[in-house]
């Protein structure tokens, strides 16, 4: 998994590619933690994401809990197979997905 980070004042865009699984989730967690202090807008671009397991879902949920207090978090370009996982787990109801 790779994560590209683009910062623009209080907005951060993270572009994910590859697989978010139990092995790579700690890297995602650290990247999110290191980049969201004080920001008001977090965009997660999932276009190149191939796979997500519950290890990644946990991080999405904790990021959403933080961003709800300090601004907004939006997922964009979510592929169909990832969207299916978000639907099954009810994440489509609690995340903002464009």
């Amino acid at each position: 998994m790779t994560i590209d980070i683009a910062k623009d004042k209080n907005k951060v865009t993270m572009t994910f590619s590859g697989r978010i699984d139990t092995s790579t989730a700690p890297k995602m967690e650290a990247t999110v933690k290191d980049n969201i202090a004080g920001i008001t807008e977090l965009i997660m671009d999932m276009k190149q994401l191939e796979y997500i397991s519950s290890a990644g879902l946990r991080i999405l949920l904790s990021a959403q809990k933080i961003m709800k207090k300090q601004g907004s978090m939006t997922l964009i370009n979510v592929p169909d197979n990832i969207m299916e996982i978000l639907e099954i787990t009810g994440f489509t109801e609690i995340l903002t997905i464009l």
Partner: protein, 140 residues
């Protein structure tokens, strides 16, 4: 129902071995001409169960888990069985997370086994001969 053993792997139940288990699964599913969508779903189910076993089955030592893939080609079903000699634990007894509550109340965690149940057509657990046996059945 007639299931034929396709392949099996016995490996230390450690999250460090996750990629080996997923490669083992993916190679076999490709040989069975499994659809890409089904393959991703089975990879997810296998990751969740393997990681569960790696995390909880052997609290004080490293132990093994056997992952076996079987197929019923007439019924187009794949059966994946996990067998470990660790602490008896039925993951299916754990209540499902409430997926209909607002974000503030959503619990972080507990989604893995829930996903496995939703993705699979059937799941079974039994404790037999000192072993945890967890089985996933999926139409392909």
């Amino acid at each position: 129902m007639y299931y034929k053993i396709i392949d099996e792997i016995t490996i230390d139940a450690s999250t460090d071995n996750l990629s080996k288990v997923i490669s083992f699964l993916a190679n076999n599913l490709e040989k069975l001409n499994c659809k890409p969508k089904t393959q991703v779903q089975l990879e997810l189910a296998v990751e969740e169960i393997f990681v569960n076993i790696a995390t909880y089955a052997y609290p004080d030592k490293i132990g093994a888990v056997r992952v076996r893939i079987e197929a019923d080609t007439a019924e187009n079903e794949i059966l994946i069985t996990f067998e470990d000699s660790g602490t008896p634990y039925d993951p299916l007894k754990k209540p499902d997370p409430d997926v209909n509550v607002p974000v503030e109340k959503r619990q972080i965690g507990g989604l893995g086994v829930f996903l496995v149940k939703k993705i699979s057509d059937k799941v079974f657990y039994e404790y037999k001969d000192g072993k945890n046996c967890f089985t996933i059945v999926k139409k392909v």
